[in-house]
């Protein structure tokens, strides 16, 4: 069973530390658009989150025309940003809102668990993030 990032929205304070860490780890910059997790404020209701659920049988994988979606050693789908042409087929194929277009680069972005390192989890000050399967 694949591991995946899990978020407890009742604990989330909407600080976006996870988004900042994600973009920093993957792209070496701070840019909320470049994060594979997206927290969406919905006051006064709890926030929503966009996050890849790491399907057993990913719908995104087969529809990519440039083989920009690959599978890591841990079994998670990862985006090769050099190969992605931003066609959006994977975005249409995904029914979980787990992969989306980054408007700052016009290629897609998603959570890939940082090759099993889950770098955002330890930085969440309220333990809203955890590793699930």
């Amino acid at each position: 069973m694949k591991q995946k990032l899990v978020i407890d929205l009742e604990k989330c304070t909407e600080c976006r530390t996870c988004e900042l860490k994600c973009s920093f780890v993957h792209f070496g910059v701070f840019n909320l658009n470049k994060s594979g997790i997206k927290i969406i404020t919905d006051w006064p209701r709890l926030p929503k989150a966009k996050l890849c659920v790491q399907c057993e049988d990913p719908a995104c994988l087969p529809v990519c025309p440039t083989e920009a979606l690959l599978v890591t050693e841990q079994g998670n789908v990862k985006v090769d940003h050099e190969l992605c042409i931003g066609c959006g087929a994977c975005v249409d194929a995904c029914t979980y809102d787990g992969i989306w277009m980054d408007p700052s680069t016009d290629v897609v972005v998603k959570c890939d668990t940082c090759e099993g390192r889950f770098e955002c989890v330890q930085d969440c000050s309220v333990q809203a993030l955890s590793i699930g399967s």
């Binding site: 860490k21 910059v29 701070f30 700052s104």
Partner: protein, 608 residues
């Protein structure tokens, strides 16, 4: 070097509806660092101290800092600087949230608003372009509705906003700017927005924010996280308390110290404080914690919407200062009323501190029979503890109706207008209403209220030390020097822009390391504090040239009168004590006996 800076300033001229980009040069950046540093240098260079704050010559400087938009925790604030319509002097005001990061990713360090639009407008700065948009339909609209409308009109989910409500439009002198429940509270920046017909600003950006050395910056951030975790591992650290309930439990703590101004300044203790303290709010209202960007402390207490007698209240807070100004100071102990009052202050866009002090002032005037008790109309009695009267006055002030029109001017002008000796008990310094502290009780507060460049501000006082008894509250010796040092230090912190709680969570070395690893700017603590001192002196010079000189470093007469209820063993403030504090303060700062910065001290600080 300087990787974390965009180095760009956007100048928006509302009169001509133009946008100009300028570059901030490296020397400027290295000298002034960011935030309040940029704002103060630019403002003092560009504004004639004598201008009318409501005139088109006034400008609004919106500044972010070197760490804004990075993962550095407790650095999410944005700084607004302008000439205050409340004090006539230089104003710096801050708000957290997520707006600063948007400004940074939009590519700017500073946004300068100039001139005046010929009709109500909002400004949008997004990857789709920069626009000044006429919005007559938003006239008079409350803040939340405005922010939602602008976001919808611009059509971007990632837009962050700041807006004014009716109070700013009506130039209530303490009208403030609100950004997604966070307030640029003090000093009337919202009224300046109103005078320019600027209703709101929406910002979105797609830009990357970089740092000099990724590995070293991450280490610096990890060290910051460790420091915060360590601090919050202590169950009774102040920071831990903030993370649980914001600042509202300050009511309980300050009351226990007999330093909570109650029924104006008649008392230092409120018997009903337990109805409006942190415990009361946590028990009565469904709450969840929300955080500013990147913050690990999440001090924001977002209350679920609640029906009250005066309408539905949905708000973040109230904070301690509000529970003082609209609570104990007015002798109000109704938590529902405080919730709704906080909500109204957010919707109208008004500083809750100045607002509450004005309401309490009116109640005191009625108590002394200087104002008629039925002056509010509607069968309401203007008297201490009347929650209905409090809510009514908030509406009247925002709408500038009747007595509200007088109070909308602030207690300094209101007391001048009402006359009859009311000036002696108007709780203000340089026109800025008191923050939630009693100069009669704490000498650090005495000193900083009298000397702070933006008026009676508490943000630069040794509050913790005096409350803990580490510094004796009523001791004068050495106090002025401590206050001056804190004033310098806090100014320096506001260049980064550190949240006011950052110092309590992390040592200064951590901040300087974050600055170094993000920008390459390196300095030791002493040099850092000296930068703050330079900014303090720049502010002082501006104020002096605006006509605010050493004679304004004073407190209202009421502070020298012993309240009815005052701790027996505490020494009350005397004129001699005050004179000593001011003398010590000027001496420590290297100013002359009139409180003017000497040429020698200015030279030392590199200011010409």
């Amino acid at each position: 070097m300087l990787d974390c800076y965009n180095k760009k300033l956007l100048r928006v001229n509302l009169t001509h509806r133009t946008f100009t980009e300028e570059t901030l040069d490296n020397e400027f950046i290295k000298r002034w660092i960011g935030g309040m540093g940029f704002g103060t240098r630019l403002l003092t260079e560009e504004l004639d101290p004598g201008i009318d704050p409501f005139g088109p010559e006034n400008k609004i400087f919106i500044c972010v800092g070197p760490l804004t938009g990075t993962s550095a925790p407790l650095f999410a604030q944005t700084c607004i600087m302008t000439k205050s319509p409340l004090t006539g002097g230089i104003l710096n005001t801050y708000a957290g949230g997520h707006l600063g990061s948007a400004i940074k990713s939009a590519g700017y360090e500073v946004i300068v608003i100039e001139g005046k639009a010929n009709g109500l407008v909002y400004l949008s700065i997004t990857p789709d372009g920069q626009k000044i948009v006429d919005c007559p339909e938003l006239k008079g609209k409350p803040v939340k509705e405005t922010e939602t409308a602008v976001k919808a009109a611009v059509g971007r989910d990632d837009l962050h906003t700041m807006a004014i409500g009716l109070a700013g439009e009506n130039r209530v002198r303490y009208g403030c700017v609100i950004s997604e429940t966070r307030a640029f509270g003090r000093g009337g920046a919202g009224a300046v927005f109103g005078s320019k017909n600027l209703k709101a600003i929406g910002v979105a950006g797609l830009g990357d924010i970089r740092v000099l050395s990724n590995e070293e910056f991450q280490s610096a951030v990890n060290a910051a996280y460790d420091a915060i975790k360590e601090e919050m591992s202590h169950p009774w650290s102040v920071v831990t308390s903030f993370s649980q309930s914001g600042t509202i439990d300050g009511v309980a703590m300050i009351n226990a110290n007999d330093a909570l101004a109650t029924k104006y300044h008649h008392m230092t203790h409120f018997d009903k404080a337990s109805n409006i303290d942190g415990a009361a709010f946590m028990e009565k209202y469904e709450t969840r914690s929300i955080a500013c960007q990147g913050c690990q402390v999440h001090c924001g207490v977002l209350r679920q919407p609640k029906k009250t007698r005066w309408g539905e209240a949905w708000t973040r807070g109230p904070e301690y200062e509000t529970a003082y100004s609209l609570g104990s100071l007015c002798f109000n102990d109704d938590s529902d009323m405080l919730l709704r009052a906080n909500d109204l202050a957010e919707e109208y866009g008004m500083d809750t501190l100045s607002l509450g002090v004005n309401v309490a002032f009116a109640m005191e005037c009625a108590d002394r029979k200087i104002l008629p008790r039925d002056i509010l109309g509607d069968g309401l009695t203007l008297k201490f503890g009347n929650a209905d009267a409090t809510i009514k006055l908030i509406h009247m002030i925002a709408n500038r109706e009747g007595l509200g029109d007088t109070l909308a001017e602030g207690v300094r002008l209101a007391s001048q207008k009402i006359g009859q000796g009311t000036q002696s008990f108007a709780l203000q310094v340089k026109g800025m209403e008191f923050a939630a502290w009693m100069p009669e009780r704490m000498r650090g507060i005495t000193t900083t209220f009298a000397t702070a460049n933006r008026g009676a501000c508490h943000k630069r006082a040794p509050i913790g030390l005096e409350l803990a008894g580490i510094l004796q509250k009523d001791q004068v010796e050495g106090r002025a020097a401590i206050v001056a040092e804190i004033q310098n230090r806090v100014n320096a912190l506001f260049t980064l822009i550190a949240c006011r709680f950052a110092e309590m969570a992390m040592p200064t070395a951590v901040f300087l390391n974050l600055l170094k690893t993000s920008s390459g700017i390196e300095m030791d603590e002493a040099e850092f504090v000296k930068r703050g001192e330079a900014i303090w002196n720049l502010e002082r010079l501006f104020n002096m040239n605006a006509g605010i000189d050493g004679s304004e470093d004073k407190l209202p007469d009421i502070c020298f009168e012993r309240p009815e209820v005052f701790p027996e063993d505490a020494k009350h403030l005397t004129h001699e004590d005050f004179a000593t504090l001011m003398r010590d303060y000027y001496e420590y700062r290297g100013w002359d006996s009139q409180g003017r910065p000497t040429p020698e001290r200015l030279q030392e600080l590199g200011i010409t």
